[in-house]
Symmetry: C2
Subunit: 695 residues, 2 copies
């Protein structure tokens, strides 16, 4: 098998009614595969193999063993070395590496995340935070899995607040060693993949202390276990995190260190080093910037979760929409034929709005991945590029991971009891993806980072202007500023790009109207928050924090609105590249559905702030309902374009079995009616009696 | 142990700041326990025992065995016979039976639901649909678990549409037998608890056919397996549903029947019988009413899921709020002390809004349970009472079960990585409760039943009035109509109770304002839908269905708004019974938070329809934020009043362990600072340099 089983190979196989647009499924599928289509195809071919599939119903002990074996399978099949240096057998391909990695989620999310721990976190930390000697010494063993390892950053007492971790690495000039120590229980490393069983080595994050000065969080390579006995080395201890809500193929655990001594050269010293005599040096003078630079090398975790979440959403929608197009329930429109679920308005609303969001999130992810590749390949690697990448990842990962959980759940419910059976996979995927919303940066924390960036941009533009001046500034800005190619925009640009949105009669279906409404909301929310927080930085810290806290909720909302706008822009840019007119028409409906769903969700804001009239507000819901009807005939094409075959879906209700059952049932009743042997319904009998009594 | 471990025994143990109200936790706890407090206490004492607790990490095979054993334990401890006839060792206590049953969810939802299958569905069907001979013959064995059995209603091809099931029971007068038959694959019974392994008997629902007439769905007692060999009897076959998203202690499976013959007297004949010669008779002439009467006896499933969902929400909030009051993260307000999570505005919003909804859902459930007991005890057992009960259950069960999933998930996320560990139970409970939203009536289908009832009530009131007359009718209605004691109201009553809500200046914190806004919305939505659908019933069926479908989404929204109003009314009525002034003040804030959260959620509707001005709309969010701050000091009291102890919570992070860790960490740093041995932070060093350079 060198091709994915049922990759779309032509236009829709479903006949379109006259005058209806037709989706070119193959071309759309190609566009969705994006820049790294070839890598995705390879990875999907791999993910389709039974060896890599999740076996349901295993104990967590059995599942862990299976997943570890699958990691070896990935090594044997050259699937996981793309990002590593060519000199060591990799191919220095950062974007392609993530693209391939994301697709593994379709085989088993545990496999994806365990691979992510080994190569994306542990290996990446050695690669990006270490220097050449470290690469030569450890990367080969990491790459070929001789050294399964941990990324020991998070502590029980500190999740997303990495700067506050309490593990220390104190330099001892006498022996030229660092002493790694866990001062108290809250400083145990926790939730660490590979820590409970498999990890032989670890990159441990700790506060680097030398000559009485704490230089902040640095990464240290530490041997954890004796490779022969698999026992912890002296001074190291730990605990198993046990069963989790999902991802039970990974042996998460806790680690603690009691004055464990490691050579000075085990400091991964790319961004900070300690001389033999204990002198600290760093190419980055500011401790704050140094910290963010080091952590910034780890952004790929967020990027890949964003992509994996989109992939899982696609699987769920493909299954649920396939089933809904076959399943019949309730005979509302005739006495003998029941309705197909997908013809019910509520069912369309439940599934198509999420389909639209999935397309938007997918297109946004492709932009994020390209930005990531630009930075990590060195093509566009300025400080500003790195900051943009961080912000973009922090904005998109929360939305796509929450969306995946929401979509998996809605699809599971839309399939009723069948959706709850593991054979249909929704519940399994949902359980595994649950933690995506809080790991690699808690979603709520990430959105606050985005909000801070938006505020900073706002402050930069309007540092010395009072709020009243803002309106004039907006008007005076000429449109046509180059839009940043990543889709990340400064606040000022939103305004410049879109002009004044408060026009009386906005036709909601026009692209420019949607853009104006969405951008205006972000801009206004940021400006309002910025205005409310102005001067807070001059207050004593406690009062400043209180002011900030009183606006925390709206700041997070503003960040989310910003991220949604980025998704909408990405969808719109992708739409501009569609050439086939039928596809373009249908995708435009889908983009409009996405845009209008966002506007509907925040309709109260638009009304309260005078952006939409009461009358126009009332048309939003109606227009969405009309779009649902238009999209209905193309729903199967739109999920076919995802390109996932039966070996990726592996859902009993996505196999056509339901259609066979429905057809068999209808044929039975047809035959029975034709035979004259069908029992008469008591209700019909009663109706006849009533009729004959009346005549 | 005869009392629940840590049942609140006094007023809040936390000192209140001067001038702050104090919650009487014990009295509030007593009120929350409701009418069947004694039963709940007994059931909680039982649920606290380790023998009944879910063991995490079992395979589904092991879990099934454990759960079956626990059912015997319930029998041995007299925990499950309350609803059965006194003559057979029960106590004819319907309300108490449900109250006790609900509390089992805290031990293991699989135990709850497996007990529900055996006694609440299988046993109940024999009791309510059968007659005395059936009771004597089967109830003793069902009660003592000699006959584990199935409630075989749902089919693969028909979930919530029971009227359309395809299994037939055709009477053969020659042998005086019914022939049970499964005509095609879609007619297999599916998702049936006890079907895969344990079930020896079953109540099978099938279309009763005699003398060529189909009299609709009836229930038949069928022996499934040989008690000695546990093998299926001839003509019966099945399949295991396998692993599910949760509830894996229950052996759900599929069943099919190939012309299986059972005695005529195995028809559970309370509502329909067949003579030896094949003549059908029923005390209920209308086939439609007969069907709903038979199914109506099964409403207790919905009632008990409503209560169990509230209980699970309480467990989650008690754990998450306890943890959030101890856990510190990010030092935003000082350099040395980190913030307690519960002081963050977003965290309060995430948890307190759900706390308010949980109180509302709990009070509404108590009303539902009393209504249920009124009907089933025969105290108030008219057709109208039964219909009200059905509608009330159909309205409340969707909201509380969705709320439980939402709350479990939000609490899990609010506890970060710790929330994902099974040792903290959120993920386990969430997985088990997932199916509550689609079984015993799919939530979306149930809300449509409610909508139909609302439309019918509307049509009854305004049958001959055109829409313009409605406004006058509203104005002319005098206020003060007796509110139906169950909280279920006809549409006309809403209007009469509340008068005209569109007043210019509504103070949102006033009870009457909230009521007016909430009732007006329901009334208007139903009236609008009713108006849009008027005349549809006269159209040909296909067109009528299309018109209905175009309004499906708004009808479901209207039903939900109605159910939310019922919750708000229940909360408000409960509030009126609170005597302690401190408790009353705090609970009023919580009720206001619930009411305003509903208004905020639907704010666009209030704005679009001129019920709130733009200006007042903008105050809703601010007022909610102020309520959060007011509730903050009482949050722990409010979850303590739920009365669940450590043996119910069984969450590592609800034990105070986090506080110990935090205290230990802070003590460490304090000691270090005091010793003068603390390393100097590089940032502080740099700041000093800058300062000394400047002076």
């Amino acid at each position: 098998m060198t091709e994915v089983a049922d990759r779309p190979t032509g236009t829709s196989s479903r006949p379109a009614p006259a005058g209806q647009p037709v989706v070119d499924v193959a071309a759309l599928g190609e566009q969705l595969l994006g820049k790294w289509a070839h890598v995705r195809r390879q990875a999907r071919e791999l993910a389709a193999r039974p060896e890599l599939h999740k076996t349901e119903g295993l104990t967590h002990t059995e599942h862990r063993k299976r997943t570890f074996g699958q990691l070896r399978y990935l090594v044997d099949n050259d699937a996981v070395h793309r990002a590593f240096p060519a000199a060591l057998g990799g191919s220095d391909d950062h974007g392609g590496n993530i693209a391939g990695f994301e697709e593994l989620v379709t085989a088993d999310p545990s496999l994806q995340i365990k691979a992510g721990v080994q190569w994306g976190l542990f290996g990446s930390a050695v690669m990006h935070l270490g220097t050449e000697e470290h690469h030569r010494k450890w990367l080969p063993g990491i790459m070929n899995l001789d050294i399964p390892g941990c990324f020991a950053m998070t502590e029980t007492g500190h999740g997303s607040d990495v700067a506050s971790i309490a593990t220390t690495a104190t330099y001892d000039a006498g022996t030229q060693e660092f002493v790694i120590n866990t001062p108290f229980r809250a400083a145990w490393k926790d939730y660490i993949g590979n820590a409970a069983i498999d990890g032989l080595g670890a990159v441990v994050f700790a506060q680097l202390v030398t000559r009485g000065v704490n230089h902040g969080v640095h990464a240290f390579y530490v041997d954890l276990r004796d490779p022969a006995t698999k026992e912890f080395l002296p001074g190291i201890g730990g605990e198993d995190d046990g069963v989790k809500g999902g991802l039970n193929g990974i042996d998460n655990g806790r680690l603690h260190f009691s004055n464990v001594r490691i050579p000075r050269t085990n400091l991964l010293n790319r961004y900070g080093d300690v001389d033999a005599d204990g002198t600290y040096s760093s190419p980055i003078a500011s401790p704050g910037r140094r910290f963010f630079t080091m952590l910034g090398t780890l952004v790929q975790g967020r990027v890949s979760l964003d992509g994996a979440a989109v992939a899982a959403s696609k699987l769920a929608l493909k299954t649920a929409i396939t089933y809904a197009a076959e399943r019949r329930q309730f005979n509302s429109s005739s006495l003998t034929e029941e309705e197909v679920l997908l013809d019910y308005q509520r069912h369309q609303r439940r599934l198509f709005t999420r389909l639209a969001t999935t397309y938007a999130a997918g297109f946004a992810h492709e932009q994020l991945l390209q930005k990531f590749d630009d930075v990590f390949s060195g093509a566009h690697d300025s400080d500003a590029d790195r900051q943009d990448l961080e912000t973009l990842a922090a904005a998109l990962k929360p939305l796509s991971t929450w969306h995946a959980l929401d979509t998996l759940q809605e699809c599971r419910e839309a399939c009723g009891g069948a959706g709850f059976l593991i054979e249909n996979r929704f519940a399994s995927l949902r359980a595994d993806l649950d933690v995506y919303v809080t790991f690699e940066g808690d979603n709520t924390v990430l959105l606050q980072l985005v909000a801070k960036r938006l505020l900073a941009d706002y402050a930069k533009e309007f540092r010395s202007v009072n709020f009243g001046v803002l309106a004039r500034y907006v008007v005076n800005q000429a449109a046509g500023n180059a839009v940043h190619r990543t889709g990340l925009r400064g606040v000022a640009q939103f305004v410049a790009d879109t002009g004044l949105p408060q026009k009386a009669a906005i036709a909601l279906r026009e692209e420019e109207s949607q853009r104006a409404l969405l951008t205006d909301r972000v801009q206004t929310m940021v400006a309002e928050a910025g205005s409310a927080l102005r001067g807070a930085s001059k207050l004593p810290q406690r009062e400043a924090a209180a002011v900030f806290n009183r606006h925390q909720d709206e700041l997070i909302d503003a960040a989310q609105a910003h991220a949604e706008l980025l998704q909408w822009e990405a969808f719109t840019e992708a739409l501009a590249r569609v050439e086939d007119p039928g596809t373009k028409t249908v995708l435009t409906w889908l983009r409009d559905l996405f845009g209008l769903s966002l506007i509907e969700k925040n309709l109260s804001w638009y009304l309260m702030n005078g952006r939409l009239s009461m009358q126009r507000g009332r048309t939003v819901g109606e227009y969405i309902n009309r779009l649902l009807t238009k999209i209905r005939p193309h729903a199967l094409d739109l999920v076919d374009a995802f390109g996932y075959g039966p070996d990726h879906l592996r859902a009993a209700i996505a196999t056509g079995a339901e259609k066979l059952r429905q057809d068999e049932a209808r044929a039975f009743y047809r035959t029975q009616r034709a035979s004259g042997q069908a029992p008469v319904d008591e209700k019909v009998l009663l109706a006849r009696k009533v009729q004959s009594a009346a005549t």
